[in-house]
């Protein structure tokens, strides 16, 4: 042989995608929502995001290097995605040390304890968020006001989210028609002019990022669409039955963490089903649980719990919901 040539089994060509590109694609998709948040909440957005990303990446690096004693793989961007998503779930006045605790729980408990990338049963960012939500309920439910608190961090003036206003109002017996006056108009809700976490305010920016991810085939449409449809139908039926005590379906779609959860969190690869049919079951489950918590539960918002609960069904869904095998059931035309 005059020259050494490689011998390996087929295929001999490969697609362009790799994990790093997919993960950075998610981060690029979140840029519009991030910019909207910077516009409304100012420096708080920058500080919270920076702390969250740096601590998530840092904890993953330290755990891989010193606990697991493997080559750190933080450059794949998955820890950074968790960092950005965790930040998106927090109020922009969150003290730095709470964010660091959230990052440690998200990466340490939510991801690395199961073996790292691809092995975690629950969405790590949501594990972090729910841990903080239960441990620091006051800090996790005081939301800075849009625009007014641009130059303030932890000292920002705070208020309640529209979902919380509705929840508390209805509990106190105030009719829906009166409560609507206390929340921003639908256009403001859609573009993000409201009290809320940095990532949940602008449905518009989040949807734009979602379309980008669809076009790059980072996610498929099944999970977001099944969640939106379920929430729309469920809340629509409740609203038709009793419009006095229930918010309308459009309000439910554009408020709270629904878009962030449906497009960015429920579509997390490792914690969602592998087949389109499975994704529908998963999405419908999330939709039903979210509405159940919002309408009947103790909390104003339920998407995080809904996703985590459905995450736990994913292995079961994957076991029983199989793709249709070619030639399995013969129908000839």
């Amino acid at each position: 042989m005059d020259k050494l040539i490689t011998v390996s089994p087929s295929p001999h060509v490969y697609g362009d995608d790799n994990v790093k590109k997919l993960m950075y694609g998610v981060i690029y998709a979140l840029i519009p929502a991030f910019l909207v948040s910077v516009y409304f909440f100012g420096i708080g957005t920058l500080i919270v995001t920076a702390i969250s990303v740096v601590s998530c990446v840092g904890f993953e690096y330290l755990i891989q290097k010193y606990l697991m004693k493997t080559e750190p793989s933080v450059s794949d961007g998955s820890a950074a995605v968790t960092g950005v998503l965790l930040a998106m779930n927090l109020p922009t006045n969150m003290p730095w040390w709470i964010i660091v605790i959230g990052a440690l729980v998200a990466i340490g408990v939510g991801k690395m304890s199961f073996g790292g990338l691809g092995n975690n049963p629950f969405n790590p960012a949501l594990v972090g968020r729910v841990f903080l939500f239960i441990s620091f309920p006051v800090q996790m439910t005081s939301w800075p006001g849009p625009i007014v608190s641009r130059l303030q961090y932890t000292d920002a003036a705070t208020g309640a989210t529209p979902l919380a206003v509705i929840k508390e109002g209805l509990a106190a017996g105030v009719p829906m028609s009166r409560l609507v006056e206390q929340i921003p108009g639908y256009l403001d809700l859609f573009i993000g002019h409201l009290h809320g976490s940095m990532g949940e305010i602008s449905a518009l920016a989040l949807l734009a990022g979602g379309i980008y991810m669809l076009s790059r085939k980072i996610i498929t449409w099944h999970i977001p669409v099944s969640i939106f449809l379920t929430v729309f139908l469920f809340t629509g039926i409740l609203w038709l039955i009793n419009p006095y005590d229930n918010a309308d379906p459009v309000f439910h779609l554009i408020t709270g963490g629904l878009v962030l959860g449906a497009v960015y969190m429920a579509t997390d690869y490792a914690t969602s089903p592998m087949t389109p049919k499975g994704m529908w079951i998963f999405g419908i489950g999330i939709g039903v649980i979210t509405v159940a918590i919002r309408v009947y539960g103790a909390y104003p918002e339920g998407i995080s719990f809904a996703i985590l609960i459905m995450n736990s069904f994913v292995p079961l869904i994957n076991k029983y919901v199989k793709p249709k095998r070619f030639g399995e059931e013969v129908k000839n035309g």
């Binding site: 042989m1 020259k3 040539i5 490689t6 011998v7 390996s8 089994p9 087929s10 295929p11 001999h12 060509v13 490969y14 697609g15 995608d17 790799n18 994990v19 590109k21 997919l22 793989s73 794949d76 998955s78 073996g115 790292g116 990338l117 691809g118 092995n119 498929t220 690869y269 490792a270 969602s272 089903p273 592998m274 087949t275 199989k322 793709p323 249709k324 095998r325 070619f326 030639g327 399995e328 013969v330 129908k331 000839n332 035309g333």
Partner: protein, 443 residues
């Protein structure tokens, strides 16, 4: 809407560099190495010995057993030896080595250029001549063609499918054949229709070959029962089951054959070979081979005698580029990497693809992120992400339960995997072990 198969599939870069190069006849080499196993099934049994003089087209090895076929000398010359020679499988296997002299064809072979369109042979004669001529599936599968023409008892076909899809990137031999030998192809298809006793034939061609589609549509007017069907580009549309689904929307049952849904599929090259065998008495001793690659000086399509060393073809296409990293026998998706350039062209060699060293190695392997892309692209509806660990950790029951044997090794899963995981490597391992287990269970 142009048709395609509905489930799965990928879109690798087409890279059909040689599509515009007309077929050139390569000169007969000084020595040919003709392996006795160029087909699926039992190797043929040699009927010549060392020192024998042979003519071009003379039988040198006879079909042995049901799944087997004849092998002919591709040159005129003297048998130097019958020995183990390295072939494209990477192993040394029995082959006849012939030193070439002046090119004299065996008696009865019509080497003239005129196209003989009058079909006089009956079905039995067509099938017999297909076996006599040593014809195998020329798309690359190399299954002996006469078996596919002899339908099992009780089975009936109503439509013949001709595979002109050429969905593999880089390859253009079928494309050139359809353009340059259209009439022979049409007569060949009519012969196949007669052998199978069917009145309809569909030629499936992906619409990245509009010139071939237009040419054959024009020709098909003169031939009854033959319809040209353009198909939307998607790999692996040239796979038998996917092509049947795309063209006539019938689904071959798991573990079944196309004839179970009333059809038989033959490659365009096979149809031309059948034409030559029946109308010209010419056995399968040469074939069209694409020699191509991004860095090749002259990507070409050659008409080559079987047994010609691969190196001769590469030299004729401008030589091996300095940065060559891999040489593939067949297309880049399903072809086999060669470990030597001195192996011969065989009946199944549809192309030689030269891959630069920068693209010759795989992506680094990282954890499976469960992105489900392998499930989405699998044309057989399997779950490669599940089959790989099943094979890796020896869970053969699970692999069998999850239909690992339905995998046709198209490589779409390995192609798409963003984590660079060797899915197909492990699935192949799983398939071979599971088949062994099933066989031992039957005994």
């Amino acid at each position: 809407m142009i048709q395609t198969f509905p489930r799965g599939g990928v879109h690798p870069a087409e890279d059909k560099f040689a599509a515009g190069s007309p077929i050139k006849t390569l000169k007969v080499p000084e020595t040919v190495v003709i392996p006795l196993s160029q087909h699926i099934g039992a190797p043929a049994e040699p009927v010549v010995k060392k020192g024998d003089e042979v003519k071009t087209g003379q039988v040198i090895a006879k079909s042995k057993g049901f799944v087997s076929t004849n092998i002919h000398s591709s040159v005129t010359g003297t048998v130097r030896k019958i020995d183990s020679e390295l072939d494209s499988s990477g192993y040394k296997r029995a082959a006849v080595v012939i030193d070439t002299g002046e090119d004299n064809w065996a008696e009865g072979i019509d080497t003239g250029k005129t196209i003989n369109k009058d079909i006089t042979a009956g079905a039995d004669e067509i099938i017999r001549k297909t076996l006599d001529a040593g014809i195998v599936g020329l798309g690359g599968a190399t299954f002996p063609s006469h078996i596919k023409l002899s339908l099992p008892k009780g089975k009936k076909a109503d439509v013949l499918i001709i595979n002109g899809v050429e969905c593999e990137p880089c390859l253009t031999s079928d494309h050139r054949l359809m353009l340059e030998r259209g009439d022979e192809l049409m007569v060949g298809i009519q012969l196949l229709m007669k052998a199978l006793n069917v009145t309809r034939a569909f030629i499936g061609i992906e619409n990245n070959k509009p010139d071939a589609i237009a040419h054959l549509i024009k020709l098909s007017v003169n031939y009854e029962g033959i319809t040209v069907k353009p198909l939307r580009i998607k790999y692996p549309q040239g796979a038998e089951k996917q092509l049947i689904k795309a063209l006539i929307n019938r689904e071959v049952p798991s573990g079944g054959l196309p004839v179970d849904v009333g059809t038989v599929v033959h490659n365009v090259g096979t149809a031309v070979a059948v034409y030559e065998a029946v109308q010209k008495n010419k056995p399968l001793i040469e074939r069209i081979v694409t020699v191509t690659g991004r860095e090749m000086k002259e990507p070409s399509n050659f008409l080559v005698r079987i047994g010609t060393p691969v190196r001769t073809l590469i030299d004729a296409a401008g030589g091996l580029p300095d940065n060559t990293g891999k040489v593939v026998n067949g297309g880049p998706m399903m072809g086999k990497a060669l470990n030597s350039l001195d192996v011969p062209v065989t009946k199944g060699t549809s192309g030689i693809v030269i891959i630069p060293s920068a693209e010759a190695s795989r992506k680094p392997v990282v954890n499976c992120v469960r992105c489900a892309k392998c499930v989405t692209v699998c044309p057989m509806g399997l779950e490669p992400y599940l089959l790989m660990p099943a094979a890796e950790f020896g869970k053969w029951d699970l692999a069998e339960e999850e239909s690992i044997l339905d995998c046709m090794e198209c490589g779409s899963c390995s192609y798409i995997c963003p984590s660079g995981r060797p899915l197909l490597d492990y699935i192949r391992l799983g398939k071979s072990t599971v088949s062994k287990i099933i066989r031992s269970r039957k005994q």
